[in-house]
């Protein structure tokens, strides 16, 4: 029985962890924290969990959390870094869904998150929790930094192209569209339904915090540094990320669609949660709603020599809580797909 704690359990990624873990017979939820809601029963706050979870929210307490095998941080950035060192010392394994340990270059992190990092010495140890890239390192890890939602969709989409050196990395575009749950469960005018529904906009146009995280990954997979334009958009749906990725074929390279299809299928043939769609089937976010899959379609436009990759995930599942659990499974040597095989809710 894996004893689990969740810090920041009242936000959307926290509640999604609860949803995904509550029915697992091999997991025991021990501590779920929310400073704001402490004392309130989880199932009172979230009646969808009635009959499934019998705990109350508590304030985070190091001793209590220290009894857990695994602790998830479903917190805003800047929280985990203060508690992680203590928990690691108590032998707890950590999956951090926030950004605190995602960037290896602490200076970049501090610039984008506008904070001094509290434990830069742990950054090196932290493993970036993209199983499709780092499965071996995750196995032995004490501290996993679960990737952001956009970075998951964009990296999985570009990865095979960059590893194969097929595209001109000077002209990469990632036009990404997100549902509103990515903004989290906090009082705000901008994400009121009357503001966000029936509208669409780009945001963080001059630069988004997920940009450097994506570039860190792409530069690792590519022989040459990439010039990436990453543009996030807010779209009127609750869940889902749709990333449209554009790359020109590298000059001098011959490319055809069969070769691309084969490249993607080979790269992901052993991946339980990356589904390369056959030619002629294109993804839609609803096909992964509530599920841990990334569905990818690779397309070649012969008329102008461009490759267009379409990559979709549920931002709260493969883009956050599902992937975090996938990491936990790997860390603990549990079958990687345990508790993650549910099917998308359609319609």
């Amino acid at each position: 029985m894996v004893k689990v704690g969740i810090i920041g359990a009242a936000g959307y990624t926290g509640v999604e962890l609860l949803r995904l873990l509550a029915t697992r017979p091999d997991v025991s939820l021990e501590v779920v924290t929310s400073r704001e809601l402490r004392g309130t029963a989880v199932a009172t706050m979230f009646p969808s969990l009635r009959g499934h979870i019998d705990l109350k929210f508590v304030a985070p307490d190091a001793a209590e959390l220290g009894q857990c095998d695994v602790v998830f941080f479903a917190t805003p950035h800047g929280v985990a870094m203060h508690t992680v060192p203590d928990l690691l010392e108590q032998g707890v394994r950590i999956v951090d869904l926030s950004a605190d340990f995602r960037l290896q270059d602490v200076a970049v992190w501090e610039r984008w998150y506008n904070t001094t990092h509290h434990c830069p010495e742990l950054i090196k140890e932290a493993v970036y929790g993209l199983p499709e890239v780092n499965r071996q390192q995750i196995k032995g890890a004490r501290l996993v930094a679960a990737p952001g939602c956009y970075p998951t969709a964009v990296q999985l989409g570009f990865l095979p192209l960059l590893e194969a050196g097929l595209v001109d990395t000077d002209y990469l575009i990632a036009d990404a569209k997100s549902g509103v749950s990515g903004a989290g469960r906090k009082a705000s005018v901008d994400f009121l339904m009357a503001e966000a529904n029936e509208s669409l906009k780009a945001y963080a146009v001059s630069g988004h915090r997920h940009g450097p995280e994506i570039e860190q990954g792409l530069n690792r997979y590519s022989e040459q540094p990439v010039n990436l334009t990453f543009m996030p958009h807010l779209t009127p749906m609750i869940r889902g990320i749709f990333a449209t990725l554009y790359a020109p074929v590298k000059s001098g390279n011959e490319v055809n669609v069969d070769q691309l299809q084969e490249l993607y299928q080979q790269r992901y043939k052993d991946e339980p949660f990356v589904d390369v769609l056959p030619q002629g089937i294109h993804p839609a976010t609803r096909n992964v709603k509530g599920a841990n899959y990334c569905q990818i379609s690779v397309n070649y436009l012969p008329q102008n020599g461009r490759i267009v990759v379409l990559s979709v995930i549920d931002n709260l599942v493969k883009g956050a809580s599902g992937q975090a659990i996938q990491n936990m499974n790997i860390m603990l040597g549990i079958d990687e797909s345990t508790g993650l095989d549910s099917i998308a809710l359609i319609p």
Copy 2:
């Protein structure tokens, strides 16, 4: 040229007043206030108004407002009552979109709004701004209390039945469904799109502030006091109120559908903004989206002797800002439909 001021112009009813007034050649917007946004250009805050409104939000100032012919209060309850007496003394006409002057019984008001009324002496003078009932009184009024959104839809739906004494007033039901803009433009978790979309719920189940307002009206139109159950629901759309009204035919009365249809058509035949639908056409909220109409369908169920009235409005137009302007037009002797003839946005 009518000089107009709007207090609380950054909320949804305020912005809707701006939308409806900005293109009128006979109206000059003089002062638009918002404490929070003072100093910000209106069109910076609401880019839909670029090119149409060149003002900045200012803090409310009695002297400046005193220069206006009409001042609209698009504020939460409890604000207007503090400023209205002063403005009236300066000769300004007031249309209050808030609840401060809607209830004639100050004790009832104070109980429901949990506040001491600041100028109870003005309540008697205030005219309840439902033109279909009080047109003559509105003409001479200095102070009009514009009805709430639910009360507009429910009263217009029940009115002919009660005036005609056709139904058993002991068993009235008003099941009302509202879009989320009714909650206003303020930071809140409950009205986040991720919370409110793809869901439906009743709220204020034990009693809603619009209940006594509706009862005050119905009791006035009816010979006997009514027993009304009013139940509001939050539905996943931005604009619109749909009121489904149930009443049993009074014992001993014979009713048929032609008679009911005739009753409604007669009652509203001179009303520019109440549209009695013919038998066989039922209303949908989208048919009045952005428009000042109330569409009503009256139905008789011969199998069980029940009358069902369907009444729809746009909560921000006929349920708030459009009706407020209709009141202003009447108060000032302008043609009542001026600036209110635009057609619903479909699809």
Copy 3:
């Protein structure tokens, strides 16, 4: 291993059966039929099922279906009645999600469905598949008529009140609001997103086919025949039914809220899928989205002696496919909750 066939598997209730059954280790999907899509791989049509279902749609074939232990009809009315007799003879158990066997009075059925019934002799044998009422009869049944979506929500909501004889059955109102998936997956202008989103309407105002089904149930639970007004509404969400039920307390009866709460809790205390909410918590459809629960809140309005019950389900789960599987589990002596314990998708 239970061998299962699904007829009409390409509609929404069919796909929902697939979603709920595909991950069950004790169920083997043998035949999924769709005349229109025969020859197409299920997972090509519904990419959310990739990796989970490896079948192709076939045309219905009696011999093949005869090999199944259970066959679900997820068809429009008028289909099942032609095939059921043959399958029963081959020893197949039937769960019919359509209306063919729901009404015990064949004349009423024929009037509402405007068709001659093909096997009226089986109507008597058919068990109405509302487990909360008919669990014992379902156990031995060969043929179960799964209830409609509205009838499930409305009957479960009114049931304890009627059994207890607490309310005046002359004045029952069921104001019901449904998501658009209730209309099924078929080409139509009325249910285009551009028509149905951002709008709300009543429909079937003069009478809906679920009316007689609901009345049949309520009359059975009640000592006196009921006078019910049932009014369905189309609301802009994909899944969910919200039923708001109104009843006056029977003259002479004393009622208080504790007694009502106790009544409902007692009635449903052994029901795995009916969740009586405590006072102060009211249901929202999203709390059961994708889950097999009916959440019910009973409220007493002391100011006017009315009882208001709020009852919510997911129309495709407890209102259709989930309840159908619950029936299958009971028929076969499998634990009733098997495969039905997943938690609602929030947000």
Copy 4:
């Protein structure tokens, strides 16, 4: 009084023409056609038009249409080309909202629309109705081909950059997101609300009919032929197009944001319906919902030398019916903004 006919008036662009024209005192709607709905009152079909339009749909009749000053074709492609020659001969001016006369190269048209063109001799005469480019030619035109929705947003966004020769035209990307009303008002499974809401997808990935139309325009504005990747997406909202346009600065060019801002403001300074947003304000589709504006934001990313232009319109207004009326106004010498000054519906 301008006598107007509308062919195909029951589709979304047809109804939008009705909405925009019905309240104009200088326009008389003479003939509105719909083969399917002939004999039905327009206001019965579209109750939002009750009190505004008193016509019935009729079948198209050349003689009747010949009495009009202007006829709009709001038809699918392949219809207008059969009737236009006859109407032109009768002296009627034509604004064709369909694709029949948009492409100057008839071979390209025939390939993309898979039809033989019926009157290729008129293609040369037809003026492409983008007033920001062709205002002078529109003035004298008998036949105007109103641009498609995507082409309007994309061309207006790229135009100043291409005219100025600032960008490397080998790497243009137009990632465009549309609301569902773009698909028209016709029975279809793909655009059911249960299919299209809460989801997002790319479509026509290998090539969309608006691609050659856009390229025709961009090649005209640019000194060098463009290599454009145009990718349309379907998003869960009713109205709106959001085009995100990417271009690298031409090698050797120095660019800064002030210069770009100035370039766009200069280019569009006399355009009544193109609104160049100041730096720091980015567009959202809701800001033009129901209005004839194109709002554009030009952005420079110094970190990687890329220009990103954001261009939004309402697909049914500036992307179709509003622009068609703007063309009519210009053709007839009426003030260009007449009837087009209404403000977007927010929220």
